[in-house]
């Protein structure tokens, strides 16, 4: 996989994707403020793989997911699915393309219509596409129910009759009824009980084997991502901090944020107490993010150049990209200007 020469079969590509949301309110003639949810993110998802997006809340991972399926219009940049730019397609073409990309949502309690029966919920995409008789729809829904581990008897029950795990199964059945090639799983297990996590994750993995679907897996659980994803990106405040193969990132995390994130994962293993890096402070607001590296305020190694100079993304080994001054270094001129000195120096910290 890490072989560089192998031609990649890219199913979805983001090119310099930026998504800004306007902030409501404020004075009439005051300059408009923007939440910079995603800034300048480029990534490629290969066909058949599981691609992980990791980060804390507010880092823009869900916005990327929404932009990938065209639910959010990018401010600039392109979303290219199977060679077509989603935002240049005519609305009928977009509808046709959208059939191949579906989504599983985080909260199975609010993502299912409580007044629909299971049959209505799962068959809705088929109904919207049209061209299937009631009989055919029913047959297909029953087939899917069995595939996700529910039974035919559940066909006319309502979501309220089911537990969280079962509801998520219904959500998964709805997402795959149109045979998509591309599925976005936005925190699919974080609202569920611990003992059910494994069931749903295993179901997703089985379905991938059977149906050859590409997953984009959005999660804050680093242990899950490590086990199921081939490639991943680590995000912070709308920017990609580190990206590459999961193996490379976990074995050799380079960015201070990735290191802190991995070390903050609590382990149930009592014998191997790892050194924990505690980050100071909170995630800053995405309304006025720092000009340079977005992480510098919380970075234990911040240097003088970090606040004002954005870090370039550099490939440090095949398929492993990092955006950090610490790794990439400064140019000679910048070093003579003293940009590589620790930031607390003059404050005497």
């Amino acid at each position: 996989m890490s072989n560089h020469q192998e031609p990649k079969n890219v199913i979805l590509e983001l090119k310099n994707l930026t998504v800004n949301f306007p902030v409501k309110g404020g004075l009439p003639f005051a300059p408009k403020k923007w939440i910079q949810a995603v800034s300048d993110v480029s990534l490629q998802v290969e066909s058949g793989e599981t691609f992980g997006i990791v980060g804390e809340s507010g880092c823009g991972k869900s916005t990327i997911g929404n932009a990938m399926v065209g639910m959010v219009k990018p401010t600039s940049g392109n979303v290219i699915f199977k060679g077509y730019d989603l935002n240049l397609l005519s609305s009928s073409d977009f509808k046709e393309t959208r059939r191949h990309m579906q989504m599983i949502f985080q909260d199975p309690y609010s993502s299912l219509n409580p007044r629909f029966t299971v049959f209505q919920i799962i068959a809705e995409p088929l109904f919207i596409r049209g061209g299937a008789t009631e009989e055919q729809m029913k047959e297909r829904v029953v087939e899917l129910l069995k595939l996700v581990g529910l039974s035919e008897n559940d066909l006319y029950r309502y979501p309220s009759d089911f537990s969280g795990g079962q509801r998520q199964r219904i959500g998964i059945a709805r997402a795959i009824i149109l045979n998509p090639d591309f599925l976005i799983c936005d925190e699919p297990v974080s609202a569920l009980d611990v003992s059910v996590h494994a069931q749903i994750l295993n179901l997703l993995m089985e379905l991938q084997d059977k149906l050859k679907i590409t997953y984009v897996f959005i999660s804050h659980n680093l242990a899950v991502v490590k086990n199921i994803c081939e490639h991943m990106v680590v995000m912070y405040l709308g920017k990609v901090m580190e990206s590459g193969t999961t193996e490379a990132i976990y074995n050799n995390p380079k960015h201070p944020y990735t290191k802190a994130l991995i070390s903050a994962v609590l382990d149930i293993d009592l014998d191997h107490s790892r050194e924990r890096i505690l980050l100071k402070g909170d995630i800053p607001s995405p309304i006025n993010p720092p000009k340079g590296c977005r992480f510098w305020q919380r970075c234990p190694y911040a240097m003088k150049g970090c606040p004002d100079h954005p870090a370039k993304t550099v490939e440090i080994e095949p398929n492993h990209f990092v955006a950090c001054h610490l790794v990439n270094g400064f140019s000679n001129e910048e070093i003579t200007a003293g940009l590589d000195r620790p930031i607390g120096e003059e404050l005497g910290i």
Partner: protein, 331 residues
């Protein structure tokens, strides 16, 4: 024992409704020693939060009906205390940290005023003294610029800061027992690490007893001394953290521990417990876990196993484990 901070014997909580009786907690014994951190672990609906509220006597009746044989805090029997008398206990001797800091704090009061209230209510301080104490305690939990922060409203603070404010509020009167109900569930991993650190430091420094209610076994591993595992309103296993995590006996505990993805694994398959938690109105006959248990034998579907004490303070509720131990002692 004199250093027993909380002694809870045979706590039962039921919620009668039209359809029948929902048994939330079915006879729980809980011991917390001075300076100890006890964790109650279980999935949603297992009765762990109800247990916490019952200890504070905060359950509304109706709908809840609560019965307890003994509820002693530091030797003081709270069982028959009236609500007015409990108000003296709550906040001063037992304090609680809630899960969702945004809903637990009053949105129209500054956090300073909210913490002042604890002092004004419980230690007859002047307003000025109370504010000084507030600033002190905010500083203790690591709120930067406590003086300025005290004049902020909850919405002006971040999630981690709000959780710190709740912790400060709980520690304000230096109570004997602190109950933390899912203190970090709503937080991000890096913030969770910060908050747990604060909680741990405060508890160790002031030798307080902490009852930690959580579903997250990794938090338990890092915080607790003793662990109770609950399933469907009953304790299924009790032991020290070491015992429980190194040699779990009950199949539910074994399953829970195995199903947690670890950073050290590298496989595509996750260990799973089949099925899901039964609805609390329709618990199965016999052992509540038997329909999901891979080792279930005949007796499991007929009779509820007793909670039996085994080596040094460890307790287990499982027929298989019982039989195994009997077999060993016969040899």
């Amino acid at each position: 024992m004199s250093d027993l901070m909380l002694k809870l014997r045979n706590l039962k909580v039921i919620f009668p409704n039209e359809a029948g009786v929902l048994k939330a907690v079915e006879g729980i014994d809980l011991d917390i020693h001075r300076g100890e951190c006890v964790a109650v672990v279980g999935e949603s609906g297992c009765g762990k939060s109800v247990t916490a509220l019952a200890i504070m006597k905060l359950l509304n009746s109706p709908p809840a009906l609560m019965r307890v044989d003994e509820l002693q805090l530091d030797g003081e029997e709270l069982k028959d205390y009236s609500d007015t008398k409990m108000q003296e206990i709550r906040g001063k001797q037992i304090a609680m940290i809630f899960q969702d800091a945004m809903t637990a704090l009053n949105p129209v009061m500054t956090i300073g005023n909210q913490i002042d209230e604890v002092y004004l209510r419980h230690s007859k301080m002047s307003k000025k003294k109370a504010r000084e104490a507030t600033i002190m305690v905010l500083k203790l939990v690591g709120v930067p610029e406590p003086k300025a922060r005290a004049n902020n409203f909850p919405h002006q603070l971040s999630g981690g800061m709000r959780q710190r404010v709740l912790i400060a509020m709980a520690f304000a009167t230096m109570p004997k027992l602190i109950i933390a109900d899912e203190p970090t569930t709503a937080l991000d991993v890096t913030i969770q690490a910060q908050v747990l650190n604060v909680l741990n430091d405060m508890q160790k420094k002031h030798q307080m007893s902490l009852l930690l209610i959580t579903h997250d076994l990794s938090v338990v591993a890092n915080m607790a001394d003793t662990v109770y595992v609950m399933y469907c309103g009953k304790v299924v296993e009790k032991g020290t953290v070491k015992q429980l995590f190194s040699t779990p006996h009950h199949p539910y505990t074994v399953g829970l521990l195995a199903s947690i993805p670890k950073l050290s694994d590298s496989h595509h398959h996750f260990v799973q417990i089949p099925d899901c938690v039964p609805h609390p109105m329709f618990k199965p006959a016999g052992c509540y876990f038997h329909p999901r248990c891979t080792h279930a034998i005949d007796i499991c579907s007929k009779e509820m196993p007793p909670l039996v004490s085994v080596e040094d303070g460890r307790q287990i509720r499982c027929w298989n484990c019982l039989n195994q131990m009997k077999g060993e002692s016969d040899l």
